[in-house]
C-alpha cells in the first residue's frame, strides 16, 4: 500500500472513531440530562416549576408549590366567593407503592369533582406494613399531561420524604386547584402517586 493511501485511510478511520465515541457520549452523558431538562421545561413529568423560585406566587421553600397569599389562591380558598367557571372536572387519584417499599398506600377518596378555580383537599392513607421504620417518598404524575400547567398545589406530601415507624399509619394531605384557564376539553384528570423507598437507593440522574 502506498503511503498516501495509508495516510488517507488513517485520517478517515480516526474521523469515524470520533463519530462513534461522540454518539456513545451523546446517548449516555448528554441525552439523559437533556431529557430531564426537556421534561421539566414542558411539564411532561407532571411537575411544573412555577416561574422563577423568587416570584411572589411561589412558595419560598418549594418551587413546585404555590403560595397561599396570592389573590388567585385566596379566591380558590374562599368558600363563599362564587366560582366563575360553571363546569366540573372529575379528578381521579391513583396511589401505588413501588415494589421496593412494602407499604399500603391509597387515597381516601378515589375521585372527586372539582370546579376550576376552587381549591380541594383530599387525603391519602399510608401504612408501613413492615417491622422496621422506613422512609419513602411519593413521585407525582398527571394525565393528561396537558393539564399539568394549570395544576396548582398548595400542599402536597409528595415533595417531602415520609418516615413511618413499624406498623404506623398516617394520613397525608393534598391541597390543590386548577386555574380557570384549564382547557374546556379536559373533563377528567388523573393524579397518580407512586411511593418509592428512600432508604437504599439515593443515586439519581437528576
Amino acid at each position: 500500500m502506498d503511503n498516501t493511501l495509508q495516510q488517507k485511510n488513517t485520517k478517515l478511520i480516526w474521523t469515524l472513531i470520533a463519530v462513534v465515541i461522540g454518539m456513545f457520549a451523546f446517548a449516555t452523558l448528554i441525552m439523559p440530562p437533556l431529557y430531564d431538562a426537556f421534561c421539566d421545561w414542558t411539564g411532561l413529568n407532571g411537575k411544573v416549576e412555577l416561574k422563577s423560585a423568587a416570584a411572589p406566587e411561589v412558595k419560598s421553600d418549594n418551587p413546585y408549590l404555590v403560595s397561599t397569599e396570592t389573590a388567585e389562591a385566596q379566591a380558590a380558598l374562599d368558600e363563599t366567593a362564587p366560582a366563575i367557571a360553571a363546569r366540573e372536572v372529575r379528578v381521579q387519584f391513583i396511589a401505588k407503592a413501588d415494589r421496593s417499599i412494602p407499604w399500603d398506600f391509597k387515597p381516601v377518596n378515589n375521585s372527586i369533582n372539582v370546579v376550576p378555580g376552587k381549591a380541594s383537599n383530599i387525603q391519602f392513607e399510608v401504612t408501613n406494613l413492615t417491622k422496621t421504620g422506613m422512609t419513602g417518598r411519593a413521585v407525582p404524575s398527571v394525565t393528561p399531561a396537558q393539564a399539568t400547567p394549570y395544576l396548582r398545589k398548595m400542599e402536597c406530601f409528595c415533595f417531602q420524604e415520609q418516615h413511618l415507624e413499624a406498623g404506623q399509619t398516617k394520613l397525608m394531605p393534598l391541597q390543590f386547584y386548577f386555574t380557570e384557564e384549564l382547557p374546556e376539553d379536559i373533563k377528567e384528570v388523573t393524579l397518580s402517586y407512586t411511593l418509592y423507598n428512600m432508604e437504599k437507593k439515593n443515586g439519581s440522574t437528576n
Binding site: 478517515l12 469515524l16 462513534v20 431529557y35 415494589r99 399531561a145 407512586t194 418509592y196 437507593k201 440522574t205
Partner: protein, 521 residues
C-alpha cells in the same frame, strides 16, 4: 506483495484476511443463525398452533421470542449483508481487497463469540439452570433492568460484542468505498449496492454506539446503583424507549437499504434495460437515511407523548414513504417494456417488490397515530415487520445469493430445485404472515403463548405456513451443497450482459482480483 506460506485447514479460516473468504464466512454464519433463529420460530409456532399451553411454559416462550428476534436481526440479516458487502464491494469498485483486511478478520470472529454467549444462555435455560433473556428483542426497561433475569448480563455482553463487530465492519466499508475505488469510478458511477451500503455504514456508525449506550446504562442501573431508567431514583423508563428507538428505527433501515441496492442491481439485468432513475435512487436512499433519524417515536404512540409530538412523528413517518415510493416506482419503470426473463434471482426480486410494498403499506397504516393506538403490540405489527424483513430483507439476500452464486462457486445452481425453493417459500411465507394481519386487527396481542379461542383457526394455518416455510429453507441447503460440489460450469458473465466489474473476472472468482486496478470509463 509477498505471501507467506498459506496456513491450511481451520487455521486458514481463522487467520484469513481475504475479503472473499471472510465474505463466505459471514454468509455461512448468517445462514447458520437463520436456521438457529428459525428453529426457535418453529417452537413459537408449535406452541401457538392450538390455544392453551402444550409445549412450553410462558417464561420459556418469552425467551424464545426474545432470542428469535435478536438472532434474526443481529445474527442472520445484518451479517448476511456484511458478507455480501465483503464479497462484492471490492469486486464492484475494482479494489484488490477491503481497505482494512485484518480488522475485517477480527470483526467476523467476534460474531461467533457474541452469539455463542446468547445461545449458551438459551441452552442453560433449557437445562433448567436459570432463565435466558425474556424481555423481547426490544429489551424495554424495567423488564430488562429491575425484572431481568441474571442472564441479562450475558445479553449485555453479547450486544456489546456484536456492536463492536458491526462498527468495525462499517468503518471498513466506508474506508474501502471512499479510498479504494478504481480510477475513473466516480461516486455517481458506483453501482447502487455500493451506494446503499455506504449509506448503511454511516447509519451503523451513528446508531450502534447509541445501542451500546443503552445497554451500558442498563448495566449501570442493574449493578452500580444508577437510575437512568428507574423512576425510584429520578430516572424514567420512557427515556429507555426514546434511546432504544433512536437506535431502533435507523436499524430497520440498516436491514433494508442494502436490499434496495441488491434489487436495483438484479432487476436491470433480467429486464435488459438500464436502471430507471439512477440518481433519484441515490437521493432517495440518502433521504430515507436522513428521515430515519426523526421518526423513532412512531414506536411509542401509546406512551403518552403530547399531541404535538405524536403529530410530528406521524407526519415524518408518512414522509418516509415518499422516497420509498420513488424506489418502488423506479423498479417498476425499469421492468416496464423490458425484455424480461424469470431466472431465480429475478423471481425473488419481483417477489421482493410486491411483498415489500405490502409491508410498506401496513407500515403506513401503523404510522397513523390513532390507528396505531389500536394496532400497537398486536399481531398486525408482527405481520408488518415480517413482510419487510422476511419477504423484504431475506428475499433480497436469496436473490443476491442466486445472482452471484455462480460467480462465487464457478458452477450454475440446479435451476429446478432453486425454483422449487422459490415457489415453496413464496406460498408458505404468505400463508404464514398474511393471516397475521387479520388476527392483529382482531386485536390478538403479540408475544403471548396462549390466546382466546376466536383466534384458533387462523393460528392453526399460520403455524402450518410457518412449518412449510421452515422446511422450504432446507431446499436451499440442498441447492447450495450441489452448487458448491459441482454442476454446469458458469461463464464469467453468467447472465446475459449483466452490468458491473464483477462480471469481467473469471468464474469462480480467483482468490486475488484487481491487483492492478481496472480503468472505468
Amino acid at each position: 506483495m509477498a505471501h507467506h506460506a498459506n496456513p491450511t485447514g481451520f487455521k486458514r479460516w481463522l487467520l484469513t484476511t481475504n475479503h472473499k473468504e471472510i465474505g463466505s464466512m459471514y454468509l455461512l454464519f448468517s445462514l447458520a443463525m437463520f436456521f438457529v433463529g428459525g428453529f426457535m420460530a418453529m417452537v413459537i409456532r408449535a406452541e401457538l398452533m392450538y390455544p392453551g399451553l402444550q409445549l412450553v411454559q410462558p417464561d420459556f416462550f418469552n425467551q424464545m421470542t426474545t432470542t428469535h428476534g435478536l438472532i434474526m436481526v443481529f445474527g442472520a440479516v445484518m451479517p448476511s449483508f456484511v458478507g455480501l458487502a465483503n464479497w462484492m464491494i471490492p469486486l464492484m469498485i475494482g479494489a484488490p481487497d477491503m481497505a482494512l483486511p485484518r480488522l475485517n478478520n477480527w470483526s467476523f470472529w467476534l460474531l461467533p463469540v457474541a452469539f455463542g454467549i446468547l445461545i449458551f444462555a438459551i441452552i442453560k435455560s433449557f437445562l433448567g439452570l436459570g432463565a435466558a433473556p425474556n424481555f423481547g428483542w426490544t429489551f424495554y426497561a424495567p423488564l430488562s433492568t429491575s425484572y431481568g433475569p441474571p442472564s441479562t448480563d450475558f445479553f449485555i455482553l453479547s450486544v456489546h460484542i456484536m456492536g463492536i463487530s458491526s462498527i468495525m465492519g462499517a468503518v471498513n466499508v466506508i474506508v474501502t468505498i471512499i479510498n479504494m475505488r478504481a480510477p475513473g469510478m466516480t461516486m455517481m458511477k458506483m453501482p447502487l449496492f455500493v451506494w446503499t451500503w455506504l449509506i448503511t455504514a454511516f447509519l451503523l456508525i451513528a446508531v450502534i454506539p447509541v445501542l451500546a449506550g443503552a445497554v451500558t446504562m442498563m448495566l449501570f442501573d442493574r449493578h452500580f446503583g444508577t437510575s437512568f431508567f428507574d423512576a425510584a431514583g429520578g430516572g424514567d423508563p420512557v427515556m429507555f424507549q426514546h434511546i432504544f428507538w433512536f437506535f431502533g428505527h435507523p436499524e430497520v433501515y440498516i436491514m433494508i437499504l442494502p436490499a434496495f441496492g441488491i434489487i436495483s442491481t438484479i432487476i436491470p439485468t433480467f429486464a435488459r434495460k438500464p436502471l430507471f432513475g439512477y440518481a433519484s435512487m441515490v437521493y432517495a436512499t440518502a433521504s430515507i437515511a436522513f428521515l430515519s433519524f426523526i421518526v423513532w417515536a412512531h414506536h411509542m404512540f401509546t406512551v403518552g407523548l403530547p399531541l404535538q409530538g405524536n403529530l410530528f412523528f406521524m407526519y415524518m413517518t408518512m414522509l418516509i414513504s415518499v422516497p420509498t415510493g420513488v424506489k418502488v416506482f423506479n423498479w417498476i419503470a425499469t421492468m416496464w417494456r423490458g425484455a424480461m426473463t424469470f431466472e431465480v434471482p429475478m423471481l425473488f426480486s419481483i417477489a421482493f417488490v410486491v411483498l415489500f410494498t405490502i409491508g410498506g403499506l401496513s407500515g403506513l397504516m401503523l404510522a397513523i397515530t390513532p390507528a396505531d393506538q389500536q394496532y400497537h403490540d398486536t399481531y398486525f405489527v408482527v405481520a408488518h415487520f415480517h413482510y419487510v424483513l422476511v419477504t423484504g430483507a431475506i428475499f433480497s439476500v436469496y436473490a443476491a445469493a442466486y445472482y452471484w452464486l455462480p460467480k462465487w462457486t464457478g458452477n450454475m445452481f440446479h435451476t429446478g430445485l432453486a425454483k422449487f425453493h422459490f415457489w415453496a417459500s413464496l406460498i408458505s411465507v404468505n400463508v404464514l404472515f398474511f393471516p397475521m394481519h387479520f388476527v392483529g386487527l382482531g386485536s390478538m396481542p403479540r408475544r403471548i403463548p396462549d390466546y382466546p379461542l376466536q383466534f384458533a383457526d387462523m393460528n392453526f394455518w399460520i403455524s402450518i405456513g410457518g412449518f412449510a416455510f421452515g422446511l422450504s429453507q432446507i431446499i436451499f441447503l440442498v441447492v447450495l451443497y450441489k452448487c458448491v460440489k459441482g454442476g454446469e460450469k458458469a461463464t464469467s458473465e453468467v447472465w446475459e450482459n449483466p452490468e458491473g466489474l464483477e462480471w469481467t473476472i473469471p468464474s469462480p472468482a480467483p482468490l486475488h482480483t484487481f491487483e492492478v486496478p481496472p480503468t472505468v470509463k
